[in-house]
Symmetry: C2
Subunit: 175 residues, 2 copies
Amino acid sequence: MECLSDVGFSGATVGVVAKRAGVSRGAAQHHFRTREDLLTAALLHMSENRLAELRRRAADLPDGAARTGAVVEMLIDAYTGPEFSAALQLWAAAANDPRLRSQVIPLEEHVGREAHRAAVDLLGADETAPGVREAVQATLDLARGLGLASLLTDDEPRRRRVVGQWTRMLEETLR
Amino acid sequence: MECLSDVGFSGATVGVVAKRAGVSRGAAQHHFRTREDLLTAALLHMSENRLAELRRRAADLPDGAARTGAVVEMLIDAYTGPEFSAALQLWAAAANDPRLRSQVIPLEEHVGREAHRAAVDLLGADETAPGVREAVQATLDLARGLGLASLLTDDEPRRRRVVGQWTRMLEETLR
């Protein structure tokens, strides 16, 4: 993921990744037959770690209205920073590479479902109430958009204000 | 922009763009000294056209509550499709190319300000009311996030539901 973030998809070859990981090119290829296999496995691994970390940290969250804000911040944070930048390189490359695209689509569908389930659980959201499911999805879409806005410049002060307002709007829908 | 969308930044050389545009490489280079100049000028041109089109279409919009939904849909549509995909290729390349980044950042700041102003005008939003400014910004961030979600697969049915819910929440903040 560091290689993707630093040099993009075109630069992140199996050889370059193996060198940074301190293993031989042959060893890397023994586990991952193609570059696409290696990079999508790395993205899945990173996403699953992120989701597991979110669920671990949930134990320390406050209850009540403060919880919504804390969860929204955690979700937004998960989509900013170098890991998002790495994922973006893979998405951008997949947009005009049919072979990579066919591997990234099922991965993104899987991760998207897991992220949605985690968000619902962490927020304690009741998806049978009108608008709740869509509002939770909007939170994840907003997170992706804020991740994109912070890709090139440090967008944090603005992001905090937007997240604060969204939290108030989401809180009203949830309760 | 078509070249960026189809072959990414690494493939969208001045020669490739000139060929598709039906002009000589020399003619293209006469107007745009570098590839970075050419591609950022193309992105600015596309963004300004999109914003001008939004403002033109605003004349036909309904008043009242229906207006909010119509404007949100127009804004979201502006961030999906091949033009967004082209912009994304340029953002992804700028993330690890300092020279390109230094040209894309001021461009994005300019376009971001113009898009925000257009959104405020079209929505008839009163930015002095608490939360309104941030809710309008969140709408543009959501649009970017939904654009990203529709990059690899046709996400329209889900997007419509999210946009519908977003509209209801935004409407409440605006009025």
